[in-house]
C-alpha cells in the first residue's frame, strides 16, 4: 500500500511538471506577444515594452519558467497588472464560494444517487424500476444551465413559483453569516447535484444489477438476508470501490458544471474569475489559475485512486501486482 502511495505521488508530481510546461508553453507559442495581447489592441509600443519589462517577459523562457514555478511553490501567484490585486488573496476568497458549492453538489449527488440506485436495483422486477430508470435518464441528460434556470423559475426568490431561495449573488461578508451563505448556495448546488445525482443513480443501479443474481448475493441471502437487504448491504459494499472511482469522476465533471452555474447565479467564485480574466486577457494570471485548476484535478485523481485501493482489499498490499492485470481486463 505504502509503495503504491509513493509511486502514485511520484506520478502526481511528474504530471504536475508536465502540465506546468504545457500551460507555460501554450501561452507563449500562441500567436501574438503576451505583453501585446495583455496591453490590448490600441496600446502604444511604449506601453507594451513597459509591460514586458514589468512582467519579466523579455527574459529567456527558462528564466521565466523557473521564476514562475518558484513563485507558485511559495504560494505567490503575483499581483494582477490589470487590477493590482494579489491573485492569491483573490483566489482564496473566491475558493470560499466554489469549493463549498462543489462539495455541497457532490454530497447532494451522493445522497440522491446512491439510495435511489439501491432502491431501483432492489425493485428490479417491479414497475418502480422502469419509472426510476426513466427519471434518471431524463434528469441526467438535462444541461446544467437549463436545470439551473428551471430551478430559478420554481424556487427563485422574486421570480419563482415558490420563491424561497435567493437566485443571485453571494453575501458580501461571505461565510461570516453562514446561514445566508449556505442558503445562497442552495439552488446552485441543487442544479449541479441533481444532474450528477441522476448519473450516480444510474451508475449505482447498473453496478448493483450486475451482481444482483451473483453468488455473492445468494450467499448473503443464505446467511439470513432478503434479496433487497443483501443488495443493500453486501451488494453495495462489493461495488463500493467502483462507486468511489465514479465519485472522483463526477467531482471532476462538477468543476466544469460549476463554471456555467456560477455565472448563471452570479456567484463570485473561481469559475467566474477565470472567465473574467480570460475576457480581460490577463494572461499571466490565467496561467497561474489554469495551473491551480490542473493541480486540483490531479489531486482528486490521486485521492480517488488511494480511496479505491483502501476499499478493495484485493488491490492492497503484497498481492497488488498480481491483481493488476485482472483489473485492466475488467476496466
Amino acid at each position: 500500500m505504502l509503495k503504491f502511495v509513493v509511486r502514485r505521488l511520484a506520478l502526481f508530481c511528474v504530471a504536475l511538471i508536465v502540465l506546468s510546461l504545457l500551460v507555460f508553453a501554450c501561452l507563449r507559442i500562441l500567436p501574438g506577444n503576451v505583453a501585446a495581447v495583455m496591453a490590448g489592441t490600441n496600446s502604444t509600443p511604449e506601453r507594451i515594452a513597459a509591460l514586458s519589462e514589468q512582467l519579466g517577459l523579455n527574459r529567456s523562457y527558462p528564466a521565466q519558467y523557473f521564476q514562475w514555478i518558484g513563485d507558485l511553490l511559495h504560494g505567490n501567484l503575483g499581483t494582477s497588472v490589470l487590477t493590482g490585486r494579489s491573485t492569491m488573496a483573490e483566489t482564496w476568497q473566491r475558493a470560499q464560494v466554489t469549493l463549498p458549492l462543489i462539495v455541497l453538489g457532490l454530497l447532494l449527488s451522493l445522497v440522491i444517487g446512491i439510495p435511489l440506485g439501491v432502491v431501483a436495483s432492489s425493485h428490479r422486477e417491479g414497475g418502480l424500476h422502469s419509472v426510476l430508470r426513466y427519471v434518471s435518464l431524463t434528469a441526467g441528460a438535462v444541461p446544467a444551465l437549463w436545470g439551473g434556470l428551471l430551478l430559478i423559475l420554481v424556487f427563485g426568490r422574486g421570480v419563482g413559483l415558490i420563491g424561497i431561495f435567493p437566485s443571485q449573488g453571494f453575501p458580501e461578508d461571505g461565510w461570516s453569516s453562514p446561514a445566508s451563505a449556505l442558503v445562497s448556495l442552495a439552488l446552485p448546488a441543487l442544479s449541479v447535484g441533481i444532474i450528477s445525482g441522476a448519473q450516480m443513480m444510474r451508475y449505482t443501479q447498473s453496478a448493483l444489477d450486475g451482481i444482483a443474481e451473483s453468488g455473492y448475493i445468494t450467499m448473503a441471502m443464505a446467511s439470513g438476508s432478503t434479496r433487497a437487504r443483501a443488495i443493500r448491504t453486501t451488494g453495495l459494499r462489493i461495488v463500493l470501490p467502483d462507486l468511489i472511482s465514479v465519485t472522483g469522476l463526477s467531482f471532476a465533471q462538477m468543476i466544469t458544471g460549476v463554471l456555467v452555474i456560477e455565472n448563471l447565479f452570479s456567484l463570485p467564485g473561481l469559475a467566474s474569475m477565470l472567465v473574467t480574466d480570460v475576457g480581460n486577457r490577463d494572461l499571466i494570471k490565467v496561467q497561474s489559475e489554469l495551473m491551480l485548476l490542473a493541480a486540483f484535478f490531479l489531486l482528486i485523481g490521486l485521492l480517488t485512486d488511494i480511496a479505491h485501493r483502501v476499499a478493495d482489499p484485493r488491490m492492497r498490499g503484497v498481492g497488488a501486482e498480481s491483481v493488476a492485470p485482472a483489473q485492466e481486463v475488467s476496466a
Binding site: 417491479g126 414497475g127 451473483s214 453468488g215 450467499m219 441471502m221 453486501t234 482489499p313
Partner: protein, 275 residues
C-alpha cells in the same frame, strides 16, 4: 430436522406479470423441475445425484427462496412442520442461516471478496441473534478451529486463502448458528481429489456432531458412498431413482443412475492407474 418435499414444480420464464414491456416479449416457459418428491429425515444424510444441468441447484435454491421472482415454484416443501413454498421473502430469510445452512459449490464466487472472512462467518449470527461483539468473535474463533483453520484466519480476505481453505470458511459460515439442516450444493466440485476427501470427512463429522440433517448434492457418485445413507437420482428435472446409496452404487436401475455410476467407476479407475 426433517425436510419433506412433495410435487415440486419449478418453471422459468413465462409471464412475470406487471410490466407491459415484459408481457409483450413473453418467453416460453421452461420446465426445470417436474413433480419432484424427496425427503430428508431427522439426522439423516441424503444424497442428490444428477448430471450437470439436471436441476440439482434449482431444487436446493427453490425451496429456500433463493431464486429470483421470475422463477415460478409450486408444490410443497415442509421443514419441521413449516411450509416453505409461498412464504414471504422475510419468512424465508428468517429461516435461512438459522434453521438451514447452505454450502455452495464455488466459494470463490460466493464469499464476499472485499470483507474479511471472520466478518462473513459472523453474518448469520448478526442476522439472527443478539450477541455482544466479544461473544460473536469467540464463536467465530471456535468455529474456525472446528473447520481446521486457525482463529487468525478471521482477518484474512478470501483471495488470501486456497480453494480448500475457502471451502472450510464456507462450511464455517453454514454451521456457525448450528442449523439443524445443511444443504451442501456440490461443496467439493471445485477442489482437488485429496482436498475433496478432507472436506467431505469434515462435513460428515460436523453434521453428525451437531445432530443435523444433510442434503448433499453432487454429480460425483464416488464421494456419495462416504456421505449419504440414502440417495436420489435426478435426471432432466425428474427423480428417476431412489434407494440406499450402497445398493444404488452396486446396481443402479435407471439409465441415468447407471451412467453416473459408470462415470464414477471409470474416474476412480483412471485415478488408480495414474498413480
Amino acid at each position: 430436522m426433517s425436510l419433506i418435499i412433495k410435487h415440486l414444480h419449478v418453471n422459468i420464464g413465462g409471464d412475470p406479470g406487471k410490466s407491459l414491456r415484459r408481457r409483450s416479449q413473453k418467453a416460453p416457459e421452461k420446465k426445470i423441475l417436474r413433480d419432484v418428491s424427496l425427503h430428508v429425515a431427522d439426522r439423516e444424510r441424503v444424497g442428490l445425484v444428477g448430471a450437470s444441468g439436471s436441476g440439482k441447484s434449482m431444487l436446493a435454491m427453490s425451496v429456500m427462496g433463493l431464486l429470483p421472482r421470475t422463477v415460478h415454484v409450486s408444490g410443497s416443501a415442509v421443514l419441521d412442520g413449516t411450509e416453505l413454498i409461498g412464504g414471504t421473502p422475510q419468512d424465508l430469510a428468517d429461516i435461512r442461516g438459522r434453521a438451514v445452512g447452505f454450502i455452495f459449490q464455488d466459494p470463490g464466487t460466493t464469499l464476499n471478496p472485499v470483507v474479511p472472512v471472520g466478518k462473513q462467518i459472523e453474518q448469520p449470527l448478526r442476522r439472527h441473534y443478539d450477541l455482544s461483539k466479544e461473544d460473536r468473535r469467540e464463536r467465530v474463533s471456535a468455529m474456525l478451529e472446528k473447520v481446521g483453520l486457525g482463529a487468525s484466519v478471521a482477518s484474512a480476505y478470501p483471495h488470501e486463502l486456497s480453494g480448500g481453505q475457502q471451502q472450510r470458511v464456507g462450511i464455517a459460515c453454514a454451521l456457525i448458528t448450528s442449523p439443524k439442516l445443511i444443504i451442501a450444493d456440490e461443496p467439493t466440485t471445485a477442489l482437488d481429489a485429496m482436498t475433496q476427501l478432507q472436506i467431505v470427512e469434515l462435513l460428515v463429522q460436523l453434521v453428525d456432531g451437531a445432530g443435523a440433517s444433510l442434503l448433499f448434492i453432487t454429480h460425483d457418485f464416488s464421494v456419495l458412498a462416504r456421505v449419504a445413507q440414502r440417495s436420489y437420482v435426478l435426471e432432466s428435472g425428474e427423480i428417476v431413482e431412489e434407494g440406499d446409496t450402497a445398493g444404488l452404487l452396486a446396481n443402479p436401475s435407471s439409465q441415468a443412475g447407471d451412467r453416473l455410476v459408470t462415470a464414477a467407476k471409470e474416474l476412480t479407475f483412471a485415478r488408480k492407474e495414474s498413480r
